[in-house]
Symmetry: D2
Subunit: 337 residues, 4 copies
Amino acid sequence: MAAAMRFFSDNAAAVCPEVMAALLAANRIDTAYDGDALSARLNGAFSHLFGKEVEALWVTTGTTANCLALAALCPPYGGIVCHRDAHIQVDECGAPEFYTHGAKLLLVGGEGAKVTPDAVEAVTATIRNDVHQVQPRALSITNATEYGLVYSPAEVAALGELCRSLGLGFHMDGARFANAVARLGCHPGDLSWRAGVDALSFGFVKNGGMSAEVLILFGSEHRQATLYRRKRAGQLLSKGRFLAAQILAMLEGDVWLRNARAANEAAARLAGAAGDRLVLPVEANEVFLKVTPEETAALRAKGFDFYDWGPGEARLVTAWDSDPREVEALAAAIAAL
Amino acid sequence: MAAAMRFFSDNAAAVCPEVMAALLAANRIDTAYDGDALSARLNGAFSHLFGKEVEALWVTTGTTANCLALAALCPPYGGIVCHRDAHIQVDECGAPEFYTHGAKLLLVGGEGAKVTPDAVEAVTATIRNDVHQVQPRALSITNATEYGLVYSPAEVAALGELCRSLGLGFHMDGARFANAVARLGCHPGDLSWRAGVDALSFGFVKNGGMSAEVLILFGSEHRQATLYRRKRAGQLLSKGRFLAAQILAMLEGDVWLRNARAANEAAARLAGAAGDRLVLPVEANEVFLKVTPEETAALRAKGFDFYDWGPGEARLVTAWDSDPREVEALAAAIAAL
Amino acid sequence: MAAAMRFFSDNAAAVCPEVMAALLAANRIDTAYDGDALSARLNGAFSHLFGKEVEALWVTTGTTANCLALAALCPPYGGIVCHRDAHIQVDECGAPEFYTHGAKLLLVGGEGAKVTPDAVEAVTATIRNDVHQVQPRALSITNATEYGLVYSPAEVAALGELCRSLGLGFHMDGARFANAVARLGCHPGDLSWRAGVDALSFGFVKNGGMSAEVLILFGSEHRQATLYRRKRAGQLLSKGRFLAAQILAMLEGDVWLRNARAANEAAARLAGAAGDRLVLPVEANEVFLKVTPEETAALRAKGFDFYDWGPGEARLVTAWDSDPREVEALAAAIAAL
Amino acid sequence: MAAAMRFFSDNAAAVCPEVMAALLAANRIDTAYDGDALSARLNGAFSHLFGKEVEALWVTTGTTANCLALAALCPPYGGIVCHRDAHIQVDECGAPEFYTHGAKLLLVGGEGAKVTPDAVEAVTATIRNDVHQVQPRALSITNATEYGLVYSPAEVAALGELCRSLGLGFHMDGARFANAVARLGCHPGDLSWRAGVDALSFGFVKNGGMSAEVLILFGSEHRQATLYRRKRAGQLLSKGRFLAAQILAMLEGDVWLRNARAANEAAARLAGAAGDRLVLPVEANEVFLKVTPEETAALRAKGFDFYDWGPGEARLVTAWDSDPREVEALAAAIAAL
């Protein structure tokens, strides 16, 4: 029997050839931890990419990048405004609470897991400024969102401005930052620090990496504390050069953008076939469909693997390595429902 | 100019060919996190190795393995007896305190970072059994120790028995467990669960792996909690199959023992040349030498790279991939001092 | 100018004479911490009251009692179901997160801050039973609620049964437990352990005490851990006899019930005058009124002090020592609006 | 049978009349938490006492005062240098680790629990300035020490200067600060902020209070965070006016100094009788004696209650209310050994 055609998660994707080649090339004796020559190149590479001097720290998961950022921006007694469908709220098993030593997530709603300035203002307005209530100290958004929507630079900047006025640190979970940039065609700086973002979790694993993500700090004031926290969290790998190698390979020749574009295009192809079935616009590499149980069964019978997403919905995720023939087949199958 | 001949840390060693091959072989789409076919084989593989049903969880660092074990064995208000030179005390930046939510390390002395039953009894005897004092709840030892000594099965069993009588959980930091087993030629079970060990950090990275270590739980009662803690620590990698692949490659054909033997033999060769200069017996892959500043300078001038270790001492660490010619050259250089 | 007539919080009430007398009587040398003769009587006194052997620990605040209970019932990686208006969620500045080391509060709605079995089932049903999501481990309700409603023994028992079936520990915040028991006229055991409650924060301060609350554990399995946590939280007072004295004085001759009845009756008197203005039924010592800004201004002009409670509402709280003349005057003023 | 004559702890002492009178006087309705008129006077009263604008926060235990101070001065990933016999290390059940979220205590030795600049420099010199080791961030000393020795203003200033040069925050556990000031006859400011102390736990309970201690912050930068931490620790009592009342009563007319002098003088009387038996000089209200088991038995047979303190030593503690006849009787009994 043929293997299933997998559209259930970009986490399941393979590692792209450039990354594999870089791992092989990095396989020689070198200084341990982050003292090696490859790790030493990260700050420079990302400063160049973002057009600003930044601090870039490798870690092995997006959860770690997110939570180191949150621990930098929010004290244990503070609150972090985020969407109720945010990954940090629903899919990290309380890692933000662990890393921040007990900060509270302050939840807002909004279509497609997207946070608006109005929603932030509404939730912060309910909080009395006294010692009995957890005070908001940070905002975290995900771009592209968990539902595949993309914030534009202007939308991010509006939130960034609000953060400044409310005294909130501003974190962006960029597990699919590449997909957002690829979609928008903008400069990475326009979608981050120029729009007021203080810390960015820049994802590589869903986009063709093996085990390396990067936390970007757009200022230096949290660098020292974050280095200690990374070590203390067991995230300072002794052969860190293999993380740096992956990341540098993804930056080289804009592999990260090429991969993200491929994933976005595959999703767009599915979206085109889905028509009225789309629950939300498809702006990155996730497609949410309205389907009946019979229809999902029919798709599965044809060999497609994906998640049900609540009653009457299915989630399809494409990746950098989605097989064009499988994408076409799925598009056809959707159109034929 | 020739590259330095590196004897400063097994953390700096390369990745062995079997592990690299396994990474390449694992590079296809599969289920995310630890739901893949390779990860699913870990429990079985280690149960077979240890002669007992065990739980085996991959993580990316020894620090994480150690601290997940300690969090399982010790509550936030408890104490962990360990050597004052233990890695968990001096080289993990407070990770045990982070993962356990504030447990206290209760320090003992002892030559070569080795803990004796007498030392454990002495420190626990100073603690009043009342609510004002942190009560000991676990013992952690390192085998081979941070100074390259090896506990025999009998020595471990004596500590294990004491742990039972004192109500302490028993953790072994086995960053160099392979070197200890290779040295002793014993069954891995004899050096662990049969001697009363509850949790073992089984190291692979120093021994030829890239980024995968294993936490072995010799009972099932802490499994659920530890799975949550691993996730929450940001250590549940989305492409976990690449961790499992490394580990299985090391077990296959006893690569782990072959590599450890190579490192031990290289160290033994250096020890043979060192004679009276040895600070401690060489039982694994670390050699501590008495040397003058002039002598360390002379060794460095010949291209050897290593750490000074306090005044008048130097540390030489061999690895699975220590170049035999470099080892010979270093042995000769030591003999010629 | 006359002092304001205070209806803004039972926290502002005076200390009742029996408690003051007990403090004076306790003022002699005795053993420190909780080793004194008065503290030693607590377990017996509360076991008698509840008709079951219990563990009773004094602490100085309801927040501490609540959070020690939650830390006993929920691990750091677990979740606590509670109402979104619960004191532990909105008025303890993240103390639950601090004491539990980062557990997550899982919020439900419901009129008058009351939690129903349906609401508990609805929120737990949304949580996938996998390692990515915080799993519910405890339920916490407040009786009387933050809005002055009272759960009956049957209502509590329905929740208790659900907790058993879902594997949740069951905590009751009884800051106004006395008011609930006084209202219901039931046995304290019927409203707690017989209905499945595992831990009860039994409040005395709002009800005439000075600085002593009690945490009741209806089983012994969490006693040791809780004693360590209390000490570690800085809540083991060295002259603990003065806490025990307050509590015993409140139990003696059912002062706690007498005081609670007085507060409830004062609230009932106000409720009688309020008629259609009542936002919720008045079942304990809190009265929520629908009022216009002009009406609240009018009441304040007459010397009454109280909180606005959102737009168009006012909160009036009575206490054991509410002056009957002031209550009559307020009732008349309300009726005259 | 007559009650024992208690010399085992100043924690067991009674509450002095001024404090009791103040509690009675404070027993009227007032605003809750720390919003009352008495609490509002604390900053002013202590600013006057210390000759500098300070922040003064009431708490209920010395452990809480200590740990709030440490949490202000040391991040979770930092270290706190203290004596190995310090109360924060041996008698607070890990409260510093709880409040700081896992900071590590870095222990030094020294006679009579006294820390010297040399000892601080020695321990900090062993710590590599890299991310693998917990970096020292604060120093905590106890004055008078746990063994009844007193640091002079010059000794504190030498440590304060060292703290500045090493970048350490400086905390003083002043559970017996009154005894130290009484002994030295110096200005409280000379023993604290003028000598570089950043935060002082100012004890009142051992010295005649019931349940109120004060945390003094000599700068304003940690005030906000500390207020949140106090609330979050369950230490913001709802009837806080009864804590403020105690403290103000102790300051009024220098009751705190009068009480401390009485305790010191009683200890001096015992010291005078002890001669060569003294283990350490008696500078505050603690007396450590060399005694044989037979001698301790003899003293106990005469009705004196005290702690054995390791083999061959006994600890006698006097208090503000030590009965002069009992002191004389004990002095005579010691002399007669």
